[in-house]
Subunit: 287 residues, 2 copies
């Protein structure tokens, strides 16, 4: 049995910086910057640096993703379970920004054509963004992590409830957790649940208790921080450590990803363990 | 001496169709369609089909243009004078459209880095969009075609006048011709000048006379029609025919490009000559 299957997006963001986004007409681009990311991509880039064994499950259009795949393959990430659509493009998001406001044009492309199938047996199967995974989740015996992220609205009320109940663990950010409770009517989680809350840290709901993990003050681009937090979680699970330890690993890794940027992230195990001990001394208390 | 050097853009348009362009926030893309075009690209694709010998002068960023170059090279178009910037992207234009309005984000990229140089001797040198070509134009003995297109504002009043005066022929559309006269104070052209006017046809100012060439009613995407008109012009010049004949060739070719789309354009010489005679009988008179 393999350790982890991770379902999500290998999304390309095309960051289009302009002086001011017009209502109509043409504007010159000051800076154009593609960023290889997405829920599964960001996770993979960080998890690979810690040698966590995982299989990526996703779909890409080769019209836009040749370079992206080459980049992650050069890092040793296996793309054998990434379905490659030759005549498709995406998932790709064109983000026009003028520093004040942002308009994003999201093209799912290949992700809308994809019919995902699990090709092996895994201890953990992580369902993040992408198609509705519920039927697949119901049919497998792995520990399921339900992590709908910004696509939580894709699930109906009953589907949300069902997916949560059959999951080994669910993950939301604070906005999604509010949506989850409003839609399902549940006032508290029925299974172990993590709620991330950006600079206000994260909470772990487990065995009827709530554990808070303050964030470490960071400054920089928060893109990919949530996905890298999840890499910390699996680092702990893979090394048979506690989920609490995973929360601390995740908090520290997210901090470094925000400060250094996901491409430059390079924290090694030794430093991570040292910072984990510092974090424990400073922060952890049960609430 | 070679026949023609053609300076302009190998621009990629990324057409992003959405239901409605938001002022802010995210919207799903209904259809994503890259289009390989630009002033020099559209011209080359049509001119190549008529075996007109020309050299393309342009600049591209290989981060975005690998597929575009492969496409035109597969058509037999020589890209030896296209400067390829490995770490650049563009020229590329992201065009968000919801059918009612359009917002275009134009990234010049490689075209802003390019320092164009003529690498051979040519009978005609056509200066369309790109950097300010005036100094180069002043230093060469070829027949210069001044065709600033939508970048006419790049030239000062004196530069416009100078470039026009040293040109063998100038080309404007009706809007650009108004800008040209307003900026230079010239009430009529000082050299042979073509003014294109979309569905209202085109006019040739030559030897103090004005010749009108009505457009042939067409229905379809007009993108690239102007550039393909120019291919008709050079088809006549290359075959030592009159400029008037070039106007008719251009009018007929533009008509077919609008009706069939530039990718599917396939008019052969025989049909073109037959339609040219029909056109002559129906339309040409001196005003």
């Amino acid at each position: 049995m393999r350790f982890l299957a991770y379902f999500g997006h290998l999304n390309i963001d095309v960051l289009i910086s302009v002086d001011s986004i017009p209502r109509e007409g043409s504007v010159n681009v000051k800076d154009l910057r593609p960023r290889f990311g997405g829920t599964a991509g960001n996770f993979a880039i960080v998890a690979q640096k810690f040698r966590i064994p995982f299989d990526l499950y996703s779909a890409v259009g080769m019209k836009t993703h040749r370079e992206y795949l080459a980049m992650i393959e050069s890092m040793g990430i296996n793309t054998g379970h990434v379905e490659k659509f030759e005549d498709e493009s995406g998932p790709i998001c064109y983000i026009a920004t003028d520093g004040k406001k942002q308009v994003s044009f999201m093209h799912q492309g290949a992700m809308e054509k994809w019919k995902p199938q699990l090709a092996d047996e895994y201890e953990y199967v992580h369902f993040s963004t992408g198609p509705n995974y519920l039927d697949m989740a119901k049919s497998i015996r792995s520990k399921i992590i339900f992590d709908p992220s910004q696509e939580i609205h894709k699930y109906s009320k009953d589907e949300l409830k069902k997916f949560h109940e059959i999951s080994y663990m669910s993950i939301f950010n604070d906005h999604e957790y509010r949506v989850f409770r409003e839609m399902t009517g549940l006032s508290s989680p029925k299974v172990t649940t993590i709620v991330t809350n950006g600079e206000r840290g994260s909470s772990l709901f487990m065995d009827g208790k709530k554990y808070d993990f303050p964030a470490i003050p960071s400054s920089g681009d928060t893109v990919g921080a949530g996905d890298s937090f999840r890499a910390g979680l699996y680092l702990a699970l893979y090394n048979r450590r506690s989920i609490e330890k995973g929360m601390i690993y995740g908090t520290i890794i997210a901090h470094h990803v925000i400060d250094d940027g996901i491409e430059n992230f390079s924290l090694n195990m030794e430093d991570l363990e040292r910072e984990t001990e510092n974090y424990r001394r400073m922060f952890t208390k049960r609430s």
